[in-house]
């Protein structure tokens, strides 16, 4: 029998040993990540110094020296040197609801609560009675439309009263909810063996991607009136919703097409051999895999769409940025643009960061290989 140098175990009897102590634990982490080489030690020191010089003043400005109440800009500035959140405070309901009638604003609140309730069954699949939850989610757009627009017993509200975060949510949620299914259909259509469907999808996708969203919004706001027969008008917000949705669908279709191309021919053949029909094999075999691969791209498109809702300012809809700009025109509060834009930025960041984190959670959850 051969003796291995320095190994006290016979061949085939070597037990599993723990890794060396200096390769695990927080101290090892610090050594590996922060102090692994002289240049890294310098970078770590510089980073700590930068954080030390930047973070305390920012916190002072945002919180400790900030004024949260006050009737106008001068009152704010007279007391403290920090941010003047009193301005945001006073305009908060305008930022949230736009010009939605004050006595009807409970409808917006209720819609928002229902939106959260409708999202839960979509986002988490472990829920009891999820099926019924999904029926509710599917009916949410109608329900929210009724609540926000009124009619059928509720006081009607014109869409030009919509504004602020509420408008962002309306455009963002509609765009996200409809661009995914339309994008899936376009992506499948682009691979269709029927030339008419394929050509239609290719032309649609390439046209929508080739034209800036702002152009489409102008078309929606101005030019559509020329094309429509006289006497027929339809709501500006509805036109914007359609344009934003179609625009996002085209991008979505290309993202999903990337996922579809990663599915091997063998998967479709196996589904064929098992007797699944086209739509069954798409729904049960191809799309679950293709969409899973496409999650980062899909969420990327969602986030892009959500932020692009601010472009509606150009055709006169008052999203949070629009509200902010018009608020800055108030002589009582001039010169507070930092506060306004920071506030809007934080709102968008929280929404988008939430979407990004959810996409990571979903990717981990759908990981089926070597998950143990």
């Amino acid at each position: 029998m051969t003796e291995m140098a320095g190994t006290p175990y016979k061949p085939g009897e070597h037990p599993d040993l723990p890794p060396p102590a200096n390769t695990i634990g927080p101290i090892a982490w610090i050594r590996q990540n922060l102090l692994s080489s002289p240049s890294n030690i310098v970078m770590t020191a510089v980073s700590i110094w930068l954080l030390y010089t930047i973070i305390p003043p920012v916190l002072d400005w945002m919180f400790f020296d900030a004024a949260f109440t006050g009737a106008n800009r001068n009152e704010c500035r007279a007391r403290v040197g920090g941010a003047c959140w009193a301005f945001i405070n006073e305009r908060f309901s305008l930022f949230t609801y736009g010009f939605y009638p004050i006595q009807e604003r409970w409808r917006v609140d209720l819609s928002f609560i229902l939106l959260v309730a409708a999202l839960i069954p979509v986002l988490y699949d472990g829920l009891p009675l999820r099926k019924f939850g999904l029926y509710f989610s599917a009916s949410f757009p109608l329900l929210a439309g009724w609540l926000l627009l009124g009619g059928l017993g509720l006081e009607p509200v014109e869409t030009d009263k919509f504004g602020g975060f509420m408008l962002t949510f309306v455009i963002g949620v509609t765009g996200i909810a409809f661009s995914l299914p339309i994008g899936i259909l376009l992506a499948l259509g682009r691979q269709s063996e029927l030339p008419i469907i394929r050509i239609f999808c290719v032309v649609f996708i390439e046209f929508m991607r080739g034209v800036p969203l702002i152009t489409l919004l102008f078309v929606a706001s101005i030019m559509l009136n020329y094309f429509l027969p006289k006497g027929i008008t339809f709501d500006l917000l509805l036109r914007v919703l359609i344009m934003v949705t179609l625009f996002a669908s085209a991008y979505m279709a290309e993202v999903i097409r990337g996922g579809l191309q990663a599915i091997t021919r063998g998967q479709i053949e196996a589904a064929d051999v098992l007797g699944l029909k086209y739509w069954q094999s798409m729904r049960l075999v191809v799309l679950p895999q293709a969409l899973k691969i496409s999650i980062p791209g899909i969420v990327n498109t969602f986030i892009g769409l959500y932020k692009d809702t601010t472009l509606v300012i150009i055709i006169g809809l008052l999203d949070p940025l629009g509200i902010g700009r018009s608020s800055l025109a108030d002589t009582k509060w001039t010169g507070l643009s930092t506060e306004v834009y920071l506030f809007v930025a934080v709102f968008f960041f929280i929404s988008c960061f939430g979407m990004a984190r959810y996409s990571l959670y979903l990717e981990n959850k759908l990981q089926t290989e070597h998950s143990r």
């Binding site: 053949e269 051999v273 007797g275 069954q280 998950s371």
Partner: protein
């Protein structure tokens, strides 16, 4: 054409599981299958071998219409294949297939892979489909893996799941397209054992493989294809011990020298 089984039959049905007559297929300009004639009796086990690119996979893929043929007839269990989707579905209901690369669905568990077709195609209640799937998984000896995702299994286990998935449809005919070519040597035996057991149960089998041991144990006939034509067909005994055609002899010597 030589016929070793049912020499006396003139009618194509119901004695034959598969009848292929004057089959031609082209990929673009490339003539893949040239006038192939083959009759497979019920319960017969046929092993198809030949060099790579000879058209052997294409031939068995014509049987369940994964490949469309341009000339000739393919009649499966009395049904002639046409472009009609209903006809294709009817044929596929009777034919199971196992692929070289398994083609299991990685987003589903082993059990879900097996119940997919019973639930969605045969509209079986879920509990009944799961009972059936467990039966099939027991036949391939991996009922204990039912809850795992296929990515967590070894190659041999995956191929056995693929066989179980086909069995859940209760096929009359099984097609195997190089079922052990993608496996590590250690795992080939466990798959072949399952296939041998299956063969003993009387199912009709067409198997593209170069596992000569399997051919000797199981096959009623061995068919050698080269250049899209059936060069030689014979009983395994004759085929291996006394190959007739020069091309067959060359092929055999290459395979045997390598192994």
């Amino acid at each position: 054409m030589t016929e070793h089984v049912h020499k006396d039959t003139h009618s194509d049905r119901p004695d034959y599981a598969v009848v292929i007559r004057n089959l031609h297929k082209w990929y673009g300009q490339f003539h893949v299958l040239k006038n192939v004639n083959l009759k497979v009796a019920r319960g017969e086990k046929i092993v198809i071998c030949g060099p790579s690119g000879s058209g052997k996979s294409t031939l068995i893929r014509c049987i369940n219409r994964l490949e469309e043929h341009q000339e000739g007839d393919v009649i499966v269990d009395g049904t002639e294949l046409t472009n009609d989707l209903e006809v294709i579905q009817t044929v596929r209901r009777k034919v199971g297939m196992v692929f070289q690369h398994f083609n299991l669905f990685p987003h589903l568990t082993v059990l879900e892979n097996c119940t997919l077709s019973p639930i969605w195609v045969k509209k079986m209640p879920k509990a009944k489909a799961e009972a059936l799937a467990m039966q099939c998984l027991e036949r391939v000896r991996i009922p204990d893996q039912a809850g795992k995702y296929v990515g967590q299994l070894s190659g041999g286990q995956q191929q056995r799941v693929a066989i179980a998935r086909s069995l859940c449809r209760r096929p009359k005919i099984m097609l195997f397209d190089e079922p052990t070519s993608a496996l590590d040597p250690e795992m080939i035996k466990e798959v072949l054992d399952v296939m041998i057991e299956l063969a003993s149960e009387g199912i009709t089998m067409l198997c593209v493989t170069h596992e000569m041991g399997f051919a000797k144990t199981v096959a009623d006939r061995v068919i050698f294809i080269d250049g899209g034509e059936i060069i030689e067909e014979n009983t395994p005994q004759e085929f291996f011990d006394n190959p007739q055609h020069d091309r067959t002899k060359l092929f055999m010597s290459q395979i045997l020298n390598h192994a």
